[in-house]
């Protein structure tokens, strides 16, 4: 462009070279501009900043909910707190003194009437901070060093609130919730049931001798906990009775599967046919019905859950299940290729994945298999998930599929 020459006429760098010495200071200045601090100026920190823009809007006063609570504003469901305390049921051990409940203690006791020993239940939404963090918080209260994730996973487990809870038992120096107390020779026994829907923590702490004597009562108390939803739910023994010993069932339903009494849900009664070899397990929160297959370490479980709307989306839930199995997310083509079955008169999508299962509560199963099925209804979605060792689930595919196809809603 200089001297009327256009770019196409020139070798790209030819004119640059002779003039380089003359232009170098300016080009260097250009390159060094960042070093000279030529950055965009923002508002000065520390000084008050002026709100200047104002406009009228097309929004109406009635478009807002004035004085909405924090929970309403953030769509938070308070699963803990006084309102839920009344839904917790338990049997107070003999000799224990029941104390008033509060928002953080849904059950609250003095152990054997001793003011130094207490036991209480806390229910929190979600994972409540997680399993390992809570164990180590308790250990800190007992003046003990934290433990590793692996050690936490290896803790013994106890039945609690319809689930398998991690059990801790520490002896140490009690420093209190705020670190402002001192109790040497204290013992802490606790159960932690961490689940993504809600987590329960049962904790007993006090002088070691007193706590040691109270452990049987603690175990009995733990076994007695259940919520309103599971109050009156059929026990496993009852379920087995209805399966195997009721001649009416056998007469009415020849073949492998048996029709169970419908399960009441918020949206009607859920009916299904239980495949042979499946046993009803105690009800759990967020599940409509739970089954177990096999026994002991090889036991697998299957459950049905209902969620509003699409429950976050079919593919998102499928990929979440795959993530729990250590498998990568499905591509669109893989998702489209998943097997379709009929559920509730609609299309259900079936997932099968093998891998190493690690659940939200820290449970882990190597060489695991997961069967999943999702069916989106008009206003809610049905999720059926079966998880367990491959050795147990080998041969259960047809049973799982039949179970899914047998699901129906009635009044």
């Amino acid at each position: 462009m200089q001297n009327g020459k256009c770019l196409s006429k020139l070798s790209p760098f030819a004119p640059l070279l002779p003039s380089w010495s003359a232009q170098r200071p300016l080009l260097l200045l250009l390159a060094a501009a960042p070093l000279l601090g030529l950055t965009a100026c923002g508002p000065a920190s520390g000084e008050p900043r002026l709100i200047e823009e104002w406009r009228s809007t097309a929004l109406l006063e009635e478009d807002f909910k004035w004085n909405a609570s924090t929970a309403e504003r953030f769509r938070l469901r308070r699963t803990s707190g006084p309102s839920q305390a009344s839904s917790v049921h338990y049997e107070t051990p003999a000799g224990w003194t029941e104390l008033p409940k509060n928002s953080l203690r849904q059950a609250n006791f003095l152990v054997n009437g001793d003011e130094q020993a207490e036991c209480y239940l806390t229910v929190l939404p979600g994972t409540g901070g997680g399993l390992v963090a809570n164990i180590n918080r308790w250990r800190k209260q007992m003046s003990l060093e934290p433990i590793s994730d692996a050690d936490a996973m290896a803790l013994p487990r106890s039945d609690f609130y319809g689930g398998s809870a991690s059990r801790v038992d520490f002896v140490g120096t009690w420093s209190g919730m705020s670190g402002d107390q001192s109790g040497e020779g204290f013992r802490l026994v606790g159960l932690l049931l961490v689940d993504e829907s809600a987590s329960k923590f049962l904790k007993m702490v006090g002088p070691a001798s007193l706590i040691g004597a109270a452990i049987p009562a603690f175990d009995a108390l733990a076994a007695s906990f259940h919520s309103s939803e599971s109050h009156g739910a059929p026990k496993e023994s009852h379920a087995e009775h209805s399966h195997d010993d009721d001649p009416h069932d056998h007469a009415a339903h020849a073949g492998d599967a048996k029709t169970e009494q419908p399960v009441a849900t918020n949206d009607g009664k859920l009916s299904f046919e239980t495949p042979d070899g499946w046993s009803r397990a105690p009800d759990r929160q967020m599940r409509e019905v739970t089954f177990t297959v096999g026994a002991d370490a090889d036991q697998a479980e299957c459950y049905v859950a209902l969620l509003g709307g699409t429950g976050g989306g079919i593919s998102a839930n499928m990929n979440r299940w795959r993530q729990q199995m250590g498998a990568p997310p499905l591509s669109e083509a893989e998702f489209q290729a998943l097997e379709r079955i009929e559920m509730f008169g609609r299309e259900g999508i079936l997932l099968e994945v093998d891998g190493s299962f690690s659940g939200m509560a820290g449970e882990a199963v190597s060489d695991a298999r997961l069967y999943g099925a999702v069916c989106v209804l008009s206003d809610r979605s049905v999720f059926v998930k079966m998880i367990g060792p491959i050795s147990t689930l080998e041969g259960q595919r047809d049973a799982f599929r039949s179970f899914c196809e047998s699901l129906s809603f009635g009044e």
């Binding site: 009327g4 300016l26 080009l27 501009a33 960042p34 109406l60 004035w66 504003r73 699409t310 989306g313």
Partner: protein, 388 residues
């Protein structure tokens, strides 16, 4: 003095500067493309292409580079000075001059878009209408108060005034027209309000049993949900109202100051439209046997004042009105079963220079035609003379 001015003139009009700037542009394009492996599109756009200066990280080193704004600004000056003002033999170089004008117009279009345009989306269900659209990326705080006739008015705080309020020390926002001041602190670009439980402690304030937890920053900027702690300080009494603002709150924080109600909301930046638009019908057709959309379109009513008209918006057939372009961009909810009401999302772009690139291309094409026609005629004449 004259020598210095000549040097400056020669520098800004030199072909050497053109080459350096074009190399920088190519370099920025290459580095910006590579950076998208680690950062989202929006952040790369801001860092490399909407900046004057940037630091490109190479291992532990931060190498300073001119941003595309600086490079293109200088290129415009270079083109204007060297390619037009200082161009000699303009008569014979008319084609080149025209081409340079076209390129300058293209650069000008980029400047106008950067300086004066905004874009966002408008999402609504059938039967709903809207007279504003909102940004995908930018946030704002709106202080809303009823005007007494059922309507509302807003004071707006752009994100530049609060995104740096990340520390515990509050940033104070004031206005003579408001009966209170605002103090903002602990701004989090991506956050989640969490109920505080008894079994864990948090380092941030807990307000009404809820605290704001910082989440990992998502490189897809539009997926982040910002949040900030807010204190409303009454000017008359000094009374303080604590609260949390969160980008996806269902309702704004409301306070009463001097017997007047105020709502305060952290939200995506909103831009008014000069017309209202109502979604009459949204239609989606899937590929046979699949849930993948083959085509989707929105039938809308555009109302401005007393007049209204029906418009069909579909892929590649946007609505253009008063400098605004509304494209059919998406729909939802994803995985919705048959029969579920769907919402339609229209991408909205307000760009005064919307048509400039077209004009620029026409000018450039005309310039090249003029230039090469002259060259062709000259060549033919020379050949004819040689033949004679």
């Amino acid at each position: 003095m004259r020598t210095i001015l000549n040097r400056i003139s020669n520098f800004f009009g030199s072909i050497g500067l053109s080459c350096v700037l074009l190399i920088f542009l190519a370099l920025l394009t290459w580095l910006g493309t590579l950076e998208q492996v680690n950062s989202g599109l929006y952040e790369v756009q801001k860092k490399y292409f909407e900046s004057f200066i940037l630091f490109h990280d190479v291992g532990p080193l931060a190498i300073p580079l001119p941003g595309a704004h600086l490079v293109m600004g200088l290129l415009f000056v270079n083109l204007l000075w060297g390619g037009m003002v200082k161009l000699r033999n303009r008569g014979s170089m008319a084609g080149i001059l025209t081409t340079h004008i076209g390129i300058a117009l293209l650069l000008l279009a980029g400047f106008v878009k950067t300086a004066f345009s905004d874009d966002g989306h408008l999402t609504f269900f059938e039967g709903e209408s809207a007279s504003f659209y909102q940004s995908y990326y930018r946030t704002e705080i709106a202080i809303i108060h009823p005007t007494g006739d059922g309507g509302t008015a807003e004071y707006l705080i752009p994100q530049e005034l609060f995104v740096d309020a990340t520390g515990a020390r509050p940033t104070r926002l004031i206005s003579d027209e408001l009966p209170f001041d605002l103090e903002l602190r602990l701004y989090m670009p991506n956050s989640m309000p969490i109920p505080k439980g008894p079994n864990f402690e948090v380092a941030v304030p807990v307000i009404d049993g809820v605290f704001l937890r910082a989440e990992a920053y998502n490189k897809q900027v539009e997926a982040n949900i910002s949040g900030v702690y807010l204190t409303v300080v009454e000017k008359s009494s000094g009374a303080r109202h604590e609260g949390i603002l969160w980008g996806r709150a269902a309702q704004p924080l409301t306070v009463e100051v001097d017997d007047k109600a105020w709502a305060i909301d952290l939200r995506k930046e909103r831009y008014p439209l000069p017309f209202s638009i109502e979604l009459l019908k949204f239609t989606k057709e899937d590929y046979p046997g699949m849930t993948m959309a083959r085509t989707f379109e929105s039938d809308v009513i555009v109302t401005e004042g007393p007049s209204s008209r029906a418009v069909n918006i579909r892929m590649n057939e946007p609505l253009r009105d008063q400098g605004y372009v509304l494209y059919q961009s998406s729909w939802g909810p994803a995985d919705a079963p048959a029969g579920t009401p769907l919402f339609s999302t229209l991408s909205v772009v307000r760009n005064p220079a919307d048509q400039y690139p077209l004009y620029a291309c026409i000018v450039i094409a005309a310039g090249l035609i003029i230039h090469f026609s002259r060259r062709l005629v000259g060549y033919i004449q020379q050949q004819m003379r040689t033949a004679q």
